[in-house]
């Protein structure tokens, strides 16, 4: 049983602005029957301002509630103001959504963009907007995934699936999502590091080696061992950490991802942001 807020229930049981606008100025369609939810948003625009919005939705309780909330939120806004609405704003308006349902709010934001693009005469291509399709099952692109990670501060592949659906089908794209997540998180953290609070205090060589050894022994090796793999610290040269992969890790095709997004990311986070992990 989902833990829906009263606001979600209210917008599901008594949705606002259901139906079509026959002479709509902009129409946005996202989702499909195959995906399990779809939203068609109609907007009426006067002097650059949305004066009416209506929707038709196929989907679960939170999809209908998100659509209803969206129409209430955009009415009276200028197009530029409306484009500032993020999926998080829609979820917040509803008092929050279960994390497994966040993709409903993302669908709302995408339909809004599509409707405004339609009004402005920008063709929304049939195949996803921009970027490359990462998740074939749900047709989610890397651009959509990056945006969801940035806007919602997503930290795990599971979160990405909850927000975008990517990876929720055959799961073949999970390693790709992991790679994108590592890249985006890396960029976000670099940005964050440039702002205060400043970088962690410089460590002496000895301290750095001890810290690296500790993190590898206490955190990294146990989690690799759980999957039948292992890792050995071979050498530390300045900020270069040389390791050797063992067990199932040694011939695993995703071992580079493990090294970069798992081991390196963790060592950068807790030991030194300049650490590079290399295979000995």
């Amino acid at each position: 049983m989902w833990d829906y807020t009263d606001k979600v229930k209210e917008h599901f049981l008594n949705p606002k602005n259901v139906g079509k606008i026959e002479d709509a100025d902009g129409v946005g369609e996202v989702g499909s029957l195959a995906c399990g939810d779809a939203l068609r948003l109609f907007i009426k625009v006067e002097d650059g301002r949305i004066v009416d919005a209506r929707f038709q939705t196929f989907g679960c309780g939170s999809a209908i509630a998100s659509s209803s909330a969206l129409t209430e939120m955009v009415k009276g806004k200028t197009l530029d103001e409306a484009l500032q609405i993020t999926n998080k704003d829609i979820a917040d308006y509803l008092g929050g959504l279960p994390k497994e349902k966040m993709h409903c709010s993302v669908m709302g934001r995408e339909a809004l963009e599509a409707a405004i693009n339609n009004y402005r005469g920008i063709e929304t291509p049939d195949q996803p907007l921009e970027g490359e399709v990462v998740c074939e099952c749900f047709g989610v692109t890397d651009v959509q995934i990056r945006r969801a990670i940035e806007e919602n501060d997503l930290k795990s592949v599971e979160d990405v699936t909850h927000y975008t659906k990517a990876g929720g089908g055959c799961e073949r794209c999970l390693p790709d999502i992991e790679k994108i997540l590592a890249e985006v998180r890396g960029a976000m953290e670099t940005r964050a590091e440039r702002e205060p609070p400043g970088p962690p205090a410089r460590l002496t060589n000895l301290q750095r080696i001890q810290k690296v050894q500790q993190v590898i022994d206490e955190e990294i090796r146990p989690s690799l061992q759980a999957d039948g793999g292992d890792l050995e610290l071979v050498d530390v040269d300045g900020t270069k950490v040389y390791v050797s992969l063992r067990g199932t890790c040694s011939n695993c095709p995703s071992s580079q991802i493990t090294l970069k997004s798992g081991v390196e990311a963790r060592l950068r986070e807790v030991v030194d942001p300049d650490i590079q992990v290399l295979e000995a």
């Binding site: 599901f12 939810d37 779809a38 939203l39 989907g59 679960c60 999809a63 047709g139 989610v140 929720g168």
Partner: protein, 393 residues
């Protein structure tokens, strides 16, 4: 608001007579059946009675019944035991539509180096015995095929499947969690080595189940510990649960005719009423080889979770194979294996009855459910243009 409970394949009400039977075993007869004193020892006699009652419902001997904690434990015990007792055989055959208790264990065993063949099903959710014949290999340790599917109620030909398995030297297990108490059975007349049942699906409490292990079949315990269950399952017995299971099995035997006449008639009335009044509705499951209490319907162009939420507003309890109800993003593995079209797969609702349902309840659902579907279809963008907009994404 009264509750109309039509989710009996999920769990059932404990029969008040079962509860009464259990009551003394909490505060009065609380002894440990393994104890040397009379106070504890007398409890053991009640366990014997319960074991005989469970055996009688299945057509088994009391010595062939091992009490467990749930259906999942029964399935795990049977499958792991079959593999452990035949270490030279590394292959397992089961179906794509099993309960996760079997399916996820089977997938887990693949990671441990076992080989797995999953049998498909046709549009009615039925397996193909020829596919089973082709799947079995010389190193097949076990064939595990559920007796009846929990989502659609489709009943599998366990006798034929068991004979095929035995003829090729493989052991045969059936997850009969949904079938026991609804389908008359006589396991001694059937080629079944292991059979799993769960108490809470037949009006006993949650937390108790049983595994039938045919006499002479090699067995390795799953829970290794004390001498309980003659060394076949360590751990102090869940005495009140087992007493309840015994009583529930006795009552199930008495009511099995009733399940197949009155409950079936109610189910048929529900099914026919909804198919007749709601356009674009399809039945998921076998038209005839089906549990007497189960109907699974799909309503085109609407989504299952939304239907359940609106039913819930009326106090009606049901479940759905829709993606959104489970937190996964794809509709039920059973409906997908059956090839149910996407236009229907997300809008499935399972209604499962019990002997406690009344004619009035069924009439109420037949009256109110069509309005719910109509309301959701009036919101859906697909209703008007039908299949024309399939959309992208």
């Amino acid at each position: 608001m009264a509750t109309i409970y039509l989710d009996n394949n999920a769990t059932t009400r404990v029969d008040p007579a079962v509860f009464e039977e259990m009551r003394p075993f909490f505060c009065d007869l609380y002894g440990n059946p393994s104890s040397m004193h009379t106070f504890g020892g007398q409890v053991g006699h009640h366990l014997d009675t319960a074991r005989e009652r469970v055996a009688a419902l299945l057509g088994a001997a009391a010595g062939e019944i091992v009490f467990t904690s749930c259906g999942t434990e029964g399935d795990s015990t049977a499958i792991r035991s079959a593999l452990e007792a035949q270490p030279d055989k590394r292959h397992l055959v089961t179906t794509k539509v099993e309960h996760p208790a079997v399916l996820n264990l089977a997938n887990h065993l693949v990671k441990k180096g076992y080989h797995l063949t999953l049998l498909g099903v046709d549009g009615d959710g039925m397996i193909d015995l020829d596919e089973l014949r082709d799947a079995i290999r010389d190193d097949t340790a076990l064939v595990s095929i559920m007796w009846a599917n929990n989502e659609t109620g489709t009943v599998f030909p366990v006798q034929e499947a068991g004979e095929i398995a035995k003829s090729r030297g493989a052991l045969f297990h059936t997850d009969a969690v949904q079938a026991v108490g609804k389908i008359p059975m006589d396991v001694h007349q059937l080629p079944i080595d292991f059979l799993t049942l769960s108490g809470h699906k037949l009006h006993a409490p949650k937390g108790v189940g049983a595994l039938y292990v045919r006499k002479g079949v090699p067995f390795r315990p799953f829970l290794v510990g004390g001498h309980q269950e003659r060394g076949r399952r360590g751990g102090t017995e869940n005495v009140p649960g087992i007493i309840g299971l015994g009583k529930a099995c006795e009552l199930a035997g008495e009511n099995i005719e009733h399940e197949n006449t009155r409950v079936r008639a109610l189910r048929d009335r529900l099914e026919r009423g909804l198919l007749a009044t709601v356009p674009d509705t399809r039945l998921n499951g076998h038209p005839t080889d089906r549990l007497p209490n189960t109907v699974n319907l799909s309503f085109k162009f609407v989504e299952g979770e939304a239907i359940l939420l609106l039913l819930d507003e009326l106090g009606i309890c049901a479940s759905s194979g829709s993606a959104c109800t489970s937190g996964s993003l794809e509709p039920s593995h059973v409906l997908r294996a059956m090839g149910v079209p996407f236009t229907y797969a997300h809008g499935s609702v399972r209604l499962s009855l019990s002997r406690f349902n009344t004619e009035e309840e069924i009439a109420f659902v037949v009256e109110r459910l069509p309005g719910i579907i109509e309301r959701l279809r009036s919101i859906s963008p697909f209703t008007e243009e039908g299949d024309a907009w399939t959309g992208e994404g």
